[in-house]
């Protein structure tokens, strides 16, 4: 037994500030869990086709933005609440949380304008924001990514954009996991006071970029080997179901209400 092994070690850890690593890890984890949950979404038996959902959500947002009538907002709000009520509790919570946080933030931003004599904005804009964010939330929490990209194809969006969008979503997950690992290892290697942490941050981002470049090249080769030519085709097995009909009718009714209320 060597001499130095028998000595008592007494190493005091110096406190170190690394909240930024924790914050980065948390925000990455939040994104990843969100995307993972999302990719599992499939429309149920009574699901509305993604094409209608995307179009309907867009229509609602335009009408909300144009409307100056609080009653129109109330009507849309009622519909959104009804749609929410059909969803599982944890998704409802998530959607409402996002919406409430964003609209509260709007409220704070607009508060000074109220004291300047603008009574309209303080009420309308936060409410409109809440409705808009909820509408988008409902769309994104009931529709899988691939369905949304498929719906975009039907709106004559160029292939290159859909291609890029598709890859982006997949790679946010892959690269996100990679950067998570890098952050974990930075955290594990920062024992006691590590003054070199900040330079490691740029190293993480740099490594991420270089790795992503390699991945891009490998992936294209792989896609080409499997016969990908760069064009997307939507297979049209398009059945207009009862749910679709109901959905389209509700949104047609909103146009009518909008015109009626002005």
């Amino acid at each position: 037994m060597p001499e130095w092994l028998l000595k008592d070690e007494n190493y005091q850890l110096l406190p170190d500030r690394d909240t930024f690593i924790d914050k980065s890890i948390l925000s990455l984890l939040r994104i990843l869990s969100r995307i993972r949950a999302q990719s599992g979404y499939v429309g149920g038996k009574h699901g509305v086709h993604a094409l209608w959902k995307v179009a309907g959500t867009f229509l609602l947002i335009v009408l909300l933005s144009l409307s100056r009538n609080i009653w129109f907002l109330a009507a849309v709000g009622a519909y959104l609440l009804a749609a929410l009520s059909l969803m599982p509790a944890e998704r409802i919570l998530r959607i409402l949380k996002t919406g409430l946080v964003i609209s509260f933030f709007s409220f704070l931003i607009l508060l000074p304008s109220f004291f300047m004599g603008n009574r309209y904005s303080l009420v309308m804009i936060p409410l409109k924001t809440l409705a808009t964010v909820t509408a988008v939330g409902i769309l994104s929490h009931t529709t899988g990514w691939h369905c949304v990209t498929g719906a975009l194809k039907s709106f004559f969006i160029p292939d290159i954009f859909i291609f890029v969008l598709d890859i982006t979503i997949k790679y946010i997950v892959l690269l996100g996991e990679l950067s998570l690992d890098l952050f974990y290892s930075l955290k594990l290697r920062s024992v006691g006071k590590n003054t070199g942490k900040y330079s490691s941050l740029s190293g993480i981002a740099g490594t991420l970029f270089l790795r992503s470049k390699e991945m891009a090249e490998d992936m294209y080769s792989a896609m080409e080997c499997r016969g990908f030519t760069g064009s997307y085709r939507v297979r049209r097995r398009f059945r207009f179901t009862a749910a679709d009909f109901l959905y389209v009718m509700v949104h047609a009714a909103f146009i009518a209400i909008f015109v009626y209320l002005g």
Partner: protein, 332 residues
């Protein structure tokens, strides 16, 4: 800088959306010409990279953290056209799936962050790099380019907010969308960006660039030698934009005289309602120096000080680069 829905009127959103479409079209064309089909996935991966960059929290003094946008970095690494598409896609995903930035205002957000930011940043970087030929010149270009890039984007966003109360009001004269005029929106957007976000962006961009240059110098985008016309045009446009700050005088509420705008009434925490309508109740206007040169119309004063400021900068760069050439002989 992500503008949510309902702050900009649909008309503004449509106009900015229409303004962005040609740039997207040109970018797609350019990218198809510049990078081979085999590099196509790089756009998507670039987009996910920029999306994740916004997740990286950079430590700031005082224990807070901020995050960079990375538009200029992408433009320097992949070229401005690829950056335009990548950032647009990242913004679309944020709007659609994370409620960050609006759907209608997507065009406006793309205009600010996917077009203005990377292009301004890239061309300033290139302009400086081509004139100051040294390692220092390159980093100077990166720092100044990314700093000005993010601040120009913030200025565009502020202008978009600020013109809303001028253009869209109901019969009672209440603003329908963002209620703050230019005189409030510009300082509110620019001060945090000038002081915090711009610094974070510049530091982050330079640090990552340094890392990549050290590890893998071959991956950095080599653009064709650009004419500096673009930069001069940009400078001219910016100079002409400076009097926008004056648009706000008296128009939005009709209760400000042009002579009042310089005076600051710090009643930011005024409780209750000021019957006389508007007084400048924003203490941060105190931080904005008055750019008027005494005795001439204000618009002329703004433009003059802008021209002078730009001229001084150009002169400094010319002197620096001429000193460089004298030191190393002419190697052009």
């Amino acid at each position: 800088m992500h503008i949510p829905d309902n702050y900009l009127s649909p008309a503004t959103c449509a106009a900015l959306g229409a303004a962005v479409v040609p740039f997207w079209a040109v970018s797609v064309k350019k990218v198809k010409k510049e990078i081979t089909r085999a590099k196509m996935p790089l756009l998507g991966i670039g987009a996910s990279f920029s999306f994740l960059m916004m997740m990286f929290n950079v430590p700031l003094p005082g224990g807070t953290t901020g995050h960079a946008v990375g538009g200029t970095l992408l433009a320097i690494l992949l070229g401005p056209f690829s950056a335009c598409i990548s950032v647009s896609v990242a913004l679309l995903i944020q709007a659609l799936f994370f409620g960050d930035g609006g759907i209608l205002s997507f065009g406006a957000n793309c205009f600010n962050m996917a077009f203005v930011l990377p292009f301004v940043g890239y061309f300033i970087y290139k302009f400086i790099r081509d004139r100051v030929r040294s390692e220092k010149g390159e980093y100077l270009g990166i720092v100044i380019g990314s700093y000005i890039g993010i601040n120009t984007a913030a200025l565009c966003a502020a202008i978009e907010f600020g013109i809303q109360p001028l253009l869209f009001r109901d019969a009672a004269g209440q603003a329908l969308y963002s209620p703050y005029p230019l005189s409030v929106a510009i300082p509110a957007m620019l001060i945090p960006h000038l002081l915090v976000a711009g610094v974070v962006e510049a530091a982050f961009t330079a640090a990552i660039f340094a890392f990549i240059k050290k590890v893998s110098p071959g991956t950095i985008y080599k653009g064709a030698k650009e004419k500096s016309k673009a930069v001069y045009g940009l400078l001219a446009a910016l100079i002409l934009l400076t009097p926008l700050g004056l648009l706000a005088t008296g128009t939005a509420w009709g209760e400000w005289g042009a002579d009042e705008i310089g005076e600051v009434v710090s009643n930011g925490r005024a409780l209750g309602f000021i019957p006389q309508g508007m007084q400048n109740g924003f203490s941060f206007e105190a931080m904005m120096p008055d750019y008027s040169v005494g005795g001439i119309p204000e618009v002329a004063g703004y433009i003059l000080s802008a021209v002078a400021g730009v001229a001084v900068l150009l002169i400094v760069f010319k002197i620096v680069s001429s000193l460089k050439k004298n030191n190393h002989g002419v190697h052009e």
